[in-house]
């Protein structure tokens, strides 16, 4: 079991409020990603759940039990750190087994569990190596091995893939997701990369300035962002925002349209007209950055190749069903 509930969790360092009251319900077995720009408090929130920081207010419940006064080791969670934090003088075997050794398990049981974990992560040939003799991806797997061997109620990941190169990151992303599904253990994963968040999560928590902006499934966040921040943060390239007269016609202060929901017409008469400033041809996609005069710069995405180039005139037709409307305060208007 690994159901985690936050009730009005607050954290301040001196006069600085980092977490301004977080309420959250994380279901057993789900993969939840905390995402947000740097300094939004996502790592702090994770450390509060881990017990590496003390809360300034509120409750953290694990399986219904308040753990705010419980030391980290007793919470039954395990953590994968950004720097991996492997013990440099211990072998891979020693690293993975350290938690079990501290728990006072007999030697043969430790060995059995360590070897099982190593087999899951394809680390068996490296068991007697030191961390410095491993590659980045292998170190990452050792760190994960250290987390899974203790059979925790939940895994906590603190930007674990940010030190890997792009190709390895995609591969590890898939491995972590598959492992989590296979074990069925609750996971909380912190990242600043919204692609990681969208691809890995069952549910995403978008944090900004110490507040939870929205909590929902990836597609929910994509299709129905609760406010301007979430709308701008989720999705790549960013959503286009238009204010002023055009927005007022729709009864909103700001309207937003995703680049993929703009229909591109050559020399069209209707819609939003502009000149292409930059055209990016990726083969699979074409991104157009269009200078639309008073509307500002707009981004449009076309799936496939479109032979348009810088300087061409285009008109962009927003899909009326997929226009997001926001009020003065930046909150989404529905209906």
């Amino acid at each position: 079991m690994g159901q985690i509930t936050l009730q009005g969790v607050q954290k301040s360092f001196g006069p600085v409020h980092i977490i301004k009251g977080a309420d959250l319900d994380i279901a057993d077995g789900s993969f939840v990603v905390f995402v947000g720009p740097s300094g939004c408090g996502k790592t702090t929130l994770l450390r509060l759940i881990a017990g590496l920081e003390d809360v300034s207010g509120g409750n953290i419940l694990i399986d219904g039990k308040n753990v705010v006064d419980t030391p980290p080791a007793k919470r039954g969670l395990s953590m994968v750190f950004q720097s991996y934090a492997l013990y440099p003088h211990m072998s891979v075997r020693g690293n993975i087994g350290f938690g079990l050794k501290m728990a006072g398990l007999p030697k043969d049981e430790i060995n059995r569990k360590v070897e099982a974990a190593a087999a899951t992560l394809n680390l068996t040939p490296y068991l007697d190596r030191k961390p410095r003799e491993l590659s980045g991806g292998q170190r990452q797997r050792v760190a994960i091995g250290r987390a899974i061997v203790r059979e925790p109620k939940a895994f906590l990941f603190d930007e674990p893939l940010s030190n890997l190169d792009a190709a390895l990151r995609v591969q590890m992303r898939i491995e972590v997701t598959r492992l989590q599904k296979q074990l069925g253990t609750t996971a909380i994963y912190v990242t600043h990369d919204q692609v990681e968040a969208m691809t890995m999560a069952d549910k995403i928590v978008v944090l900004n300035g110490g507040k939870i902006e929205q909590y929902g499934s990836p597609l929910e966040l994509y299709e129905r962002p609760a406010n301007l921040f979430v709308a701008g943060f989720i999705g790549s390239p960013k959503m286009n925002f238009v204010t002023g007269e055009l927005a007022k016609q729709q009864g909103a202060a700001t309207i937003g349209v995703r680049p993929e929901h703009l229909k591109i017409e050559r020399d069209g008469a209707g819609g939003w007209q502009g000149t292409i400033a930059v055209a990016e041809h990726l083969g699979s996609d074409t991104f157009l950055y269009v200078d639309a005069g008073q509307l500002g710069m707009l981004t449009a995405r076309y799936i496939g190749e479109l032979s348009l180039h810088a300087g061409d005139r285009v008109s962009l037709l927003p899909d009326p069903a997929r226009i997001h409307r926001f009020d003065e305060a930046g909150n989404a208007l529905r209906g």
């Binding site: 590496l52 080791a73 013990y87 003088h89 350290f98």
Partner: protein
């Protein structure tokens, strides 16, 4: 691009310095070797004559030699043990965030900057003096008989003085090492359920292995040649109780005025230092391999 030229330039620019250092080293060494084969007494000028290895036989069979060798090893070993055993807890304490931490650090480091003769005098006259010393006063405060340090336990007294001088060095090296310990490693150990003691044994101590090696190697070099503290406090006595090799060589040359024998002793000391260094590197040097 111009590797050959830069190599040539580097070598030709280095040559004067290296050459000077070489002369600086080789001339005294050659002279010492030369003197060690002479009958050369300052009390009997003009009588220099070649005696072969006679000086070495004289120095090595002198009962004072074995006594001073033992004193040297006891002194080096005790000071090493004390500075490390006291330095680790001190460094751990100084690593804690407390008010006035910088001031405390400055105070702890201060003894290192006091020159050996001065600190020996301070210990001799202000602290360990059997009549007017602080320790004597403290002892009488509790109704105890003051210890006459330099007569009753002279070697221990010297060890304490030298330890006091070298403790800051050990503490400082260990403290900087502690500060370079990755915070996330300690947190990982905390998540793994390690207590403070286990974290110290399994995480901190292995991390300190290398700086401890550095402390042992550097301190040994200097502790083999402790002289000023002995000269100022006990003068090698009573008897031979605080005479180490360095002091024995000094007494051969400048108390007995026997330059030949002192030169032989100097060469013996070089050999001893190398033997000690060899074993040290064998025992602790593997910690230095990256």
């Amino acid at each position: 691009m111009a590797t050959r030229q830069t190599q040539f330039l580097a070598r030709s620019l280095l040559t004067p310095a290296v050459g000077l250092l070489f002369i600086w080293m080789i001339v005294p060494l050659a002279l010492t070797i030369y003197f060690s084969t002479l009958h050369y007494s300052l009390l009997d000028p003009g009588s220099e004559s070649f005696v072969g290895l006679e000086n070495f036989r004289y120095f090595l069979t002198d009962p004072a030699f074995l006594a001073s060798l033992q004193n040297t090893l006891v002194l080096v070993g005790s000071v090493l043990a004390l500075t490390i055993l006291l330095g680790i807890p001190l460094a751990l304490l100084m690593d804690q965030p407390v008010i006035g931490r910088n001031f405390v650090r400055l105070m702890v480091i201060a003894p290192f900057f006091v020159m050996p003769t001065v600190s020996a005098l301070v210990w001799k006259n202000l602290l360990m003096h059997p009549v007017s010393g602080l320790f004597a006063w403290l002892a009488s405060l509790f109704g105890l008989t003051p210890i006459d340090w330099f007569n009753d336990v002279p070697l221990l007294a010297v060890i304490l003085i030298v330890t006091w001088q070298w403790l800051p060095f050990a503490t400082l090296i260990l403290l900087t090492a502690l500060q370079s310990l990755d915070e996330e490693q300690k947190e990982a150990a905390e998540m793994d359920g390690a207590s403070a003691v286990s974290t110290f044994i399994y995480i901190t101590l292995p991390h300190l292995a290398r700086p401890i090696t550095v402390v042992i190697l550097i301190e040994t070099i200097f502790l083999l040649t402790v002289f000023a503290e002995i000269f100022v406090t006990t003068g090698g006595g009573p008897g031979l109780q605080t005479t180490n090799i360095a002091f024995l060589i000094y007494s051969q040359a400048l108390i007995q005025f026997d330059v030949g024998s002192a030169s032989a002793g100097g060469l013996v000391a070089v050999v001893i230092a190398n033997v000690v260094a060899f074993f040290l590197v064998r025992i602790v040097g593997r910690n230095l391999e990256a």
